[in-house]
Symmetry: C2
DNA sequence: CCTTTTCGCTACCATCGGTATCGAAACTGA
DNA sequence: TCAGTTTCGATACCGATGGTAGCGAAAAGG
């Protein structure tokens, strides 16, 4: 039980996280999510692959933390909830336009569909922090779909004219597919 | 050079395409795109993997043809172009809500980012047919981005309020990410 | 200088997309 | 009935990828 301020001895690990994050985004931007091999990310960061796996348990966890680092805190003020929602949409749209972020998002979510462990990782490292931020800004949470994730997608669907009904998986899949078509 | 009506001898191949298509969609729906292994698809279809690879050169080509088969022809009438566009959006939204289709779309497009060969496959088997259908319905093609693919995504972005500017990669990535968030 | 922790390197495993090979099945035509 | 032709199924295999194990070396504190 060492004091919290005491730094343990051993080889320094200073700055490695930031270097790996930058290398990850650059590699994903250059080669796509599937092309961003862990070996290539490690090479781009000038770091051994084992070092990455000592800090993140999987590629998905690395991507999730990398996205949190790239996005930063959601800019909520807490005054007007509707205004906050609109601001959040503009915020994530701008952030995700940065090199590599969009491709990283799409890739990790596609993998998450067939990997329950990855879904839990994403929930813990991506969804929960932003959910907490909105809870603190907006007060106590409602039990219906009013968190950030749902707000963004729900607003998107509402603006598309698919409103009236609660959001269903079909709508989300439709959106993904329509957007994905442009990658052709 | 046999006559067109003459069926070549040998073991029958009747109905295998349809069986494989159905098994592909079901497997993708149940296990996701990454979880839909070629071995699993073959097993679900009751067919040897080599048989699938004798008919489709790659997993991407199988998915592309499977999607074309699942979508069917785009319902264009050619009278009012704006009306056709709106109908096309509703059409693809409904079609892609069917089991497995949305996940197949998202997965194959994510892979296509880092695979030029797959991009060409998708262009040939997915984009070109629908582009031709719209050319025939709307007359001669315009050289600007007025084909179906562009129309769907462009209209989507327009309705989101991101209009005014030409569509850029950042917007598309932002959409993918926003939608993907809901998969958590 | 000694201990402790982390880093890098190599080797390795399981899985997946894709290929090669070969015997068996099934249809056509005589 | 019986070739001849073509496809199907099974197995074995290859390269790449995510992920792990083990070990020696580097760098920090004490």
């Amino acid at each position: 039980m060492t004091p919290a301020s005491a730094r343990p001895p051993g080889r320094p690990r200073a700055g490695i996280d930031a270097v790996v994050f930058a290398a990850t985004l650059k590699t994903v931007h250059d080669l796509g999510y599937a092309g961003a091999t862990m070996d290539r990310i490690a090479a781009a960061a000038g770091v051994a692959k084992t070092t990455i796996y000592r800090r993140w348990p999987s590629k998905g966890a690395l991507i999730a933390d990398c996205l949190v680092d790239a996005l930063g805190p959601v800019p909520v003020r807490g005054a007007d909830r509707a205004e906050d929602m609109a601001a959040a949409i503009r915020w994530i749209a701008a952030k995700i336009g940065e090199p590599g972020v969009g491709a990283a998002f799409a890739g990790v979510f596609v993998d998450a569909v067939s990997d329950p462990g990855l879904r839990e990782v994403l929930s813990t490292r991506l969804q929960d922090p932003y959910r907490r931020a909105l809870e603190e800004a907006w007060g106590e949470p409602e039990h219906r779909v009013l968190f950030f994730i749902d707000v963004v997608v729900g607003t998107l669907l509402h603006r598309m004219g698919m409103t009236g009904e609660p959001m269903v998986e079909a709508d989300v899949n439709a959106l993904i597919a329509m957007v994905g078509l442009h990658f052709i």
